[in-house]
Amino acid sequence: MIQTGLVQNAHDDLVTDASYDFYGLRLATCGLDQRIKIWGLDESTGTWNVEDDWKAHDAPISKLSWAHPEFGSILASSSFDRTVKIWEQTSGGEGDSLSPHSHSLNGTGPGGDLDRGKGRDKWVERAVLVDSKGTVRMLEFSPRAFGLKVASISSDNHLRIYECLEQPTLTSWVLTEEVDILTLPYSSTPSSNSHSHTVAIATPTQTHSTLDRDGPGAASASLVAHALQQSQAQAQGSGGTVGRPGMGNREADGGWCLSWCKERYWGEVLAVGCGVSGVIKIIQTSPSRRPVTLLTLDPSPTLPTFSGSGDASGPTADSDIPTPFAITCVSWAPSCGRSYHLIATGGRDGRVRIWKIKPEEIPDGEGDSEEREREGWTGVVVADFDEHKSAVGRVEWNITGTILSSAGNDGRVRLWKATAGSVWRPAGHLSVEQAEEHERADVDMEENQAAD
């Protein structure tokens, strides 16, 4: 492994997310400085240069996600200011006239800080999605097959899926799903879910947000105060499901994460984790019925795997079990034609786990079909690593689902690969710790100074 580059002062504060575009030729980053930067790779030198830089939110930005390039050059950002924003790169000044949202917050919108000449390729704000009652912690565009959709998860424990109905303008986004993850029912028999689809898009029942969302300074004023208020609101609002003994600050202890299933065959399926539940739910959404949980991935030793056909109350209702460690990140591997799925999770317990998920077998009409149908989706842990020894903040697969990266508070990024016998093993690491004396000499890299 070799270091190939360095960008000092990429942001004016710590960086909260970095996301490569579809081709890996551009990199979007965001930070505590509330700004988004777009970097372009100079392939001849391997260096990254700033192409765009703008203030995007009124609080730290938590996540960025690129839409599939078939839809254009589109980026979504989620923030602690409780909004999700959609950005589009437009060519030559067409942007401003297209969209009612093309104005910029505080007058420092995209392009405001940089003179890029020519006036081409400006980033324009297309939509602000303000439904969340909590800080938005994670978002991801859906696989292309499902259209232009973006899913977000907030500290109000709600998964929200928005769909863009007018693709050329990107201004009209409809909230197609809004689900409280903690109270979501299991499904072994879809027909039992008699709630109509309208429930999902109706106004959420949780209305305890006490903050003034519209005030630009409100969210950024004090995130701690916000977090505390939020946690109280949650405790009142959701009743026993979240009221765990010994639970402190929910914002600080919890984890909110999601990842789409990249395979279209099963319809729209996501892995979602929220709060301090310590589990990941595999959720299926469909236009014709309420979203349902297909499977719960619970790593606690007493409840090894919670199959979809199990008890609807689930493990979260059992208060005798010690509070589990929150899952902070989840990543669904591209399936690439495998007969199973791989889902990686990282948690506050410092563990990186890989789950092997097998979808429900479709009965072929033979005699034992009922037997099979009952099996539903199943999942087993195929790897459980504790090398980080401290909270894991991020897991991510490569494009073929063969290399997993995980990053933790130990200052290390670790890579994991399967051996020929499909046993997952450490495959190296990158550390920001100083090397031992004798290793320092052979450093082979050039510093890539930030363009600004």
Binding site: M1, Q3, T4, G5, L6, V7, N9, H11, D12, D13, L14, V15, T16, A18, S19, Y20, G24, L25, L27, T29, L32, S44, W48, S62, P69, E70, S91, S97, P168, V224, A227, E251, A252, P334, C336, G337, S339, Y340, A391, R394, E396, N398, T400, G401, T402, I403, S405, D410, G411, R412, V413, A420, A427, G428, L430, V432, E433, Q434, A435, R440
Partner: protein, 730 residues
């Protein structure tokens, strides 16, 4: 490759060695993302969750990003090696596929084995060439590495896939000795030359070592040359006599290859061994005090005894001598023919224990461990070591091993060992984005899962449609080439990367990917306002919705930038419409909308040319053919105002004017019913007159123009007859 470490300490570091607690305390953490381009790793310094929730101070100096790569991308020479051997790999895949199609046993037939052996030998030769090249010229290639590849692949072919499949059933000792003599050359020619220079060579240091080694290695010429010297010049009469006995004996040592059958060989070997016994007796008869050590004689007796011991095939002597000469266990295996000339390939694991006991292998040497696994027949273990040496080796060995059915085919759920190592090699190739074709080739050789992975790589190959911007980012030569590509793509040719992707998709039947790539290209062309190309790529992808979006975008150009630019842009779209009309799968509203755009542009073209009559005909034609979307009715009616008011001629027939009137009426009614948005939004935007209300008001101008036209018809009595267009002079 083996010299690469699997960790890196990023610089500048964030904390000193051993002070992790301080780092944790500082509220920082790291995050990483994997690049789709080349699996590079982008690492950023971020906040821990606590800091994220309550950032206390700004840390301007710390918002840092590091970039790292799992592999060093291959050098130019290495790339040549990779490319050249990929041709053999492709030939091997063809062979396996074609043979399997002809029946399960075809590949393992003599012919099949011979062909596989030939291809495997090609791999060996390429490794050799690369090694020779690396050792004779100044290159970036490490010669030792390629020598190891050469040695290892050659051992594999010797043991498992010899060029002549008949050899597989015969004793292996001669083949092993040959392998040893080729790859571990001992003693060197220089040593021999140095001894020859010496008049009393037997007194020279290393003389007996040399003679013992040439004996062990069956280098009979060298052995007999020096025995000859001893037989004529050595002071000891015993040694002179023994040497002259040994010379014909060595020359007549039976070798398997010289016999028609193994039986004859065995008989001859037995007879020969008994002659060696005679030498031993003669040797033992030499009186103790005449066994060397005298001035000018050297320690000849013990050394000659070892030499005879080798000829006798004494295991302990052979192994001891190898050890004393500094040889390793592989030399022990290579010269095992002295001990047992009939060892077969399958017996190798059984002969290893005594050899390894006497000559223990070095567990830290990847090469030795790989060779040991190959000798043991532990093929999976061998692949593991091979991968540590070079992913190239594991991939190609694994491919051959599976064809030989020496490793399993996988259980359907998990990839086979072969697929695993080939995919792993493909990942290595992926570290150089320029090698995407090979990455995809190798992945696509690994069943459906491999093809699925190939898809992911293929669809992410940068299209570089923007010729000019790409050229900015590449070195001079390449940039120009790419600019050329961009230009020819813009001329409507499928060129450059796009062409190659198309071809690869076609080769491997990846239609879904091809369509996706076309859709992305269409999107990019739309962005670049190359609408003609966008339409043809949508058509190629059979993406009718996308086509609709392109047409919307084209129409939007009219709204935004007016008729002149619109007409110019549509000119590039028009040819595609012709093609689309003959395409049976093209259907529905999108084609209609495209047709409208083209005809509307034609209409404006005529207006521009002051061809009023034709323009008026077009206008009515569009309405009559029902190609005008409702949202555009009002815009076209607006266009009619000037034509209606044209003084030099009556441009419309009565029925045409009636059509216009009908449309005005319909808009009016619908708007009253609350559907104004559907009919008037576009007009409102085109005229920038405000909202629906204003647009409706504007429509009154059309009504007025129509009324006047009718009035003119009545007054001058023209246009009243069906189809009549009579010009009115002056």
């Amino acid at each position: 490759m083996s010299e690469e470490r699997n960790y890196v300490h990023l610089v500048p570091p964030l904390f000193e060695q051993g002070s992790l607690p301080d780092f944790v305390q500082s509220g920082r953490s790291v995050g990483a993302s994997l690049s789709p381009l080349d699996n590079a790793i982008g690492v950023f310094v971020g906040p821990s969750e606590k800091t994220m929730l309550a950032p206390t101070q700004r840390r301007a100096q710390e918002g840092r990003m590091y970039f790292a790569s799992m592999h060093k991308p291959p050098t130019l020479e290495r790339r040549l090696f990779i490319t050249d051997t990929s041709v053999i790999f492709a030939a091997f895949q063809n062979l396996v596929t074609n043979s399997k199609a002809r029946g399960p046993e075809v590949l393992r037939s003599d012919d099949g084995m011979r062909m596989m052996g030939k291809l495997a030998n090609d791999y060996v030769n390429f490794c050799k060439e690369c090694w020779v090249h690396a050792s004779t010229t100044t290159t970036h290639l490490p010669p030792q590495h390629y020598n190891t590849l050469y040695t290892s692949f050659s051992l594999f072919t010797t043991l498992y896939l010899p060029p002549n499949p008949a050899l597989l059933d015969l004793p292996v000792s001669d083949d092993l000795l040959e392998w040893l003599n080729i790859h571990f050359i001992e003693p060197s020619t220089e040593e021999g030359d140095a001894l020859v220079m010496n008049e009393k060579c037997w007194e020279a240091e290393g003389f007996w070592d040399y003679l013992l080694r040439t004996t062990l290695r069956h280098l009979t010429k060298a052995t007999t040359f020096f025995l000859n010297l001893l037989s004529t010049s050595h002071p000891s009469p015993h040694l002179r006599s023994l040497s002259s006995t040994l010379i014909p004996l060595l020359a007549s040592h039976p070798r398997l290859g010289e016999f028609g059958s193994e039986r004859e060989f065995v008989v001859a070997s037995k007879r020969w061994k008994s002659s060696v016994k005679g030498v031993r007796i003669e040797l033992d008869l030499v009186p103790e005090d005449e066994r060397g050590g005298e001035e000018g004689e050297g320690e000849w007796w013990t050394n000659l005894s070892d030499l005879v011991g080798i000829l006798e095939g004494r295991e302990e002597v052979v192994l001891r001598v190898v050890g004393e000469l500094g040889g390793d266990w592989r030399e022990g295996v290579g010269v095992w023919g002295w001990v047992d000339g009939r060892v077969r390939r399958g017996d190798l694991p059984d002969i290893l224990p005594p050899i390894l006991n006497a000559l223990p292998p070095d567990p830290t040497s990847v090469e030795e461990m790989l060779h040991l696994s190959l000798f043991k027949g532990d093929t999976l273990e061998a692949l593991k070591w091979a991968e540590k040496l070079d992913p190239w080796l594991a991939a190609h060995l694994g491919d051959c091993l599976q064809a030989l059915e020496l490793i399993g085919e996988g259980d359907g759920e998990e990839p086979s060992a072969r697929d695993h190592y080939i995919i792993s090699y493909a990942h290595y190739l992926h570290s150089d984005p320029a090698l995407w074709r090979l990455t995809v080739d190798y992945m696509c050789a690994c069943g459906d899962v491999g093809k699925g992975m190939g898809d992911e790589v293929l669809k992410r190959v940068p299209l570089r449609l923007r010729g000019s911007s790409a050229s900015k980012q590449t070195p001079l030569g390449k940039g120009k080439e790419r600019e050329g590509e961009g230009e020819s793509i813009k001329r409507g040719e499928v060129a450059g990367v796009l062409k190659e992707i198309n071809q690869t998709c076609w080769e491997y039947g990846r239609e879904e990917v091809r369509r996706m790539v076309c859709r992305i290209a269409a999107q990019e062309f739309t962005q670049e306002k190359e609408y003609g190309l966008a339409v043809s790529y949508c058509t190629s992808a059979e993406d009718w919705e996308g086509l609709g979006r392109v047409v919307d975008k084209v129409l939007e150009e009219y709204v935004q930038r007016g008729p002149a630019i619109f007409t110019r842009l549509v000119a590039s779209v028009a040819p595609s419409l012709q093609q689309l009309r003959v395409q049976p799968s093209a259907y529905g509203p999108y084609i209609h909308r495209l047709m409208f755009a083209v005809r509307y542009a034609e209409f404006h073209q005529r207006l521009g040319n002051q061809d009023w009559q034709e323009a008026a005909l077009d206008l009515i034609g569009m309405f009559c053919d029902d190609v005008v979307p409702k949202s555009w009715w009002a815009v076209l009616l607006g266009d009619a105002v000037d034509l209606l008011g044209y003084q030099k001629a009556m441009l419309f027939s009565t029925s045409g004017v009636c059509v216009l009137l009908q449309k005005v009426e319909e808009i009016q009614v619908r708007t009253e019913q609350g559907s104004g948005d559907d009919y008037l939004t576009v007009l409102a935007r085109v005229t920038k007159c405000g909202g629906i209300k204003e647009a409706l008001h504007r429509l009154k101008r059309v009504r007025l123009a129509l009324a006047r036209y009718f009035a003119r018809c009545t007054v001058i009595d023209v246009g009243g007859k069906e189809g009549g267009f009579r010009g009115v002079k002056g």
